[in-house]
Amino acid sequence: MAEHGVAQIWRKIPSMYNVIGNHCTTCDTFYFPPRPVCPKCRRKGHLEDHKFKGLGIVHTFSIVRQAPDDFKTQAPYVVAQVQLDEGPRLTTQIVNCEVTDVYIGMRVRVCFRKITEFGHAGLILYGFKFEPTMKVTGHPDR
């Protein structure tokens, strides 16, 4: 069975699996999603692809209790704006914690999850979400 939209999904895979934006080396600003030109420097800007470390804090969030059909098994869940350590903010789901434990300023890190699946026979879409940073035995910060 032929499925529509597969090409669009395939093109998005690199930017869904990892947090990839860009960095203007002229003014040292990071962008997510990537910008075609640096809005600050315009023609003087020089943009390079940048893979973010995937660490940040919850800037603001909302708890979704009335979920669309595809997300019903996950409800209630948290959608947050995460501020990356490098500066930019992005909208993402926060997983691996109770919805009532999420707070503004919570330290989070990127993780890899299933985003949705197109029916029982269709494609499965994977991508990044964020989760609370966890204990790492022997790590000086934690």
Binding site: I13, P14, Y17, N18, K51, K72, T73, Q74, V95, N96, E98, C111, F112, R113, K114, I115, I124, Y126, K129, M134, K135, V136, T137, G138, H139, P140
Partner: protein, 345 residues
């Protein structure tokens, strides 16, 4: 010498207690838990599967090994719960961890030992100089039919091993295998749950293959139990590895550290590999580890491993097995059923 240049694990955060499963089926939970040696098991969240578990474990392995993912020339994912029947899990993992497209990749299946078969395959490719680094992963989100004995132990988790020759954190001195046609456990295409030969799974299947493989490994390496500091056996439950240890005269304290099955259940392709990771987490340079995996159908892979000084410079960067075991939240049987899709929505 060929060895492990990095390793990492992933265990989902959700747990269900054996007693909570037993309550649903009117069984004595305490007796079931003691009998099986499994007190709680891990289960995947609603947005987790073998591709996500394998990717998380592989990202940890790459970070632990301080390896450039572009140097990985082979990716093998062993599982019996690959998300697609056709479309390799390894392609998703390789893309997500930032491998180059110049690599060979395939999914493997051999019940609970497909991951260790991947390690052997990578050893061959590395030693023959076909690839610089190979990535072997064992991961599962194991399913037991509701009410079946397997429901108490079938769990979710995975481990990833980077195999290479440059500065290994542990060298693999030797590997051997035994394989026979033994129908102790199987699942036909299109079936949601496996079938098994009940009592037949013990004596002629698990015990025969693990013991034969262990004896073969002792014989080919000219070693005995006394030469090793740690033992790791596949853990279908908490009882079998302990029983096989007794039959081989392995002191209990040399086996104890690997028995992750008590807290997380049988992670199938992840089982022996997570047990080995637990031992690598706590071992000292110079320690020797004896590992035997087991896969129904049936076969065993054996490895003798020596921990190198190199390991000391790699710890503290990624979560240990214990860090994952301790990160947990208990769910009820109802939530467990919802996450496992045994309730059809």
């Amino acid at each position: 010498m060929v060895g492990i240049v990095g390793y990492g694990v992933y265990i989902p955060r959700y747990r269900i207690k054996t007693t909570d499963i037993a309550d649903v089926w009117g069984e004595n939970g305490e007796a079931v838990a003691q009998g099986l040696g499994v007190f709680e098991k891990s289960l995947p969240g609603p947005d987790e599967d073998v591709a996500t578990i394998a990717t998380e474990a592989a990202r940890n392995a790459v970070k632990f090994g301080k390896v450039d993912a572009k140097h990985i020339g082979a990716v093998y994912v062993g599982s019996e719960s690959h998300p697609y029947a056709v479309k390799p899990t390894g392609t998703i993992v390789a893309s997500a961890i930032g491998c180059s497209t110049e690599l060979t990749c395939a999914d493997l299946e051999f019940a609970c030992k497909a991951g260790t078969a991947g390690i052997q395959t990578c050893m061959g490719l590395v030693q023959s100089k076909m690839v610089k680094i190979g990535l072997a992963i064992g991961a599962d989100t194991a399913q037991g039919r509701p009410g079946d004995a397997l429901e108490y132990s079938a769990a979710a988790g995975g481990a990833a091993y980077l195999i290479g020759e440059e500065n290994p954190v542990a060298t693999i001195e030797r590997t051997v295998s035994v394989t026979s046609d033994t129908p102790d456990f199987w699942r036909r295409e299109g079936e949601d749950f496996p079938s098994h030969g009940a009592r037949f799974t013990g004596e002629p299947a698990y015990f025969r293959h693990v013991e034969d493989c262990a004896k073969l490994l002792f014989r080919t390496t000219g070693t005995s139990v006394d030469d090793f500091d740690y033992f790791v056996f596949h853990m279908p439950n908490g009882k079998f590895p302990v029983a096989v240890g007794k039959q081989l005269d392995v002191p209990a304290e040399k086996l104890e550290d690997s028995l992750v099955v008590r807290q997380i259940g049988n992670t199938y392709s992840g089982s022996a590999m997570i047990g080995l990771a637990r031992v690598l987490d706590v071992s000292k340079p110079g320690d020797r580890i004896f590992v035997i995996s087991y896969g129904s159908g049936a076969g065993s892979d054996g490895f003798t491993i020596r921990v190198e000084d190199e390991i000391l410079g790699h710890r503290g960067e990624v979560p240990t097995v214990d860090d994952y075991i301790q990160r947990k939240v208990y769910v009820s049987y109802a939530i467990y059923a919802k996450y496992k899709h045994t309730i059809n929505m």
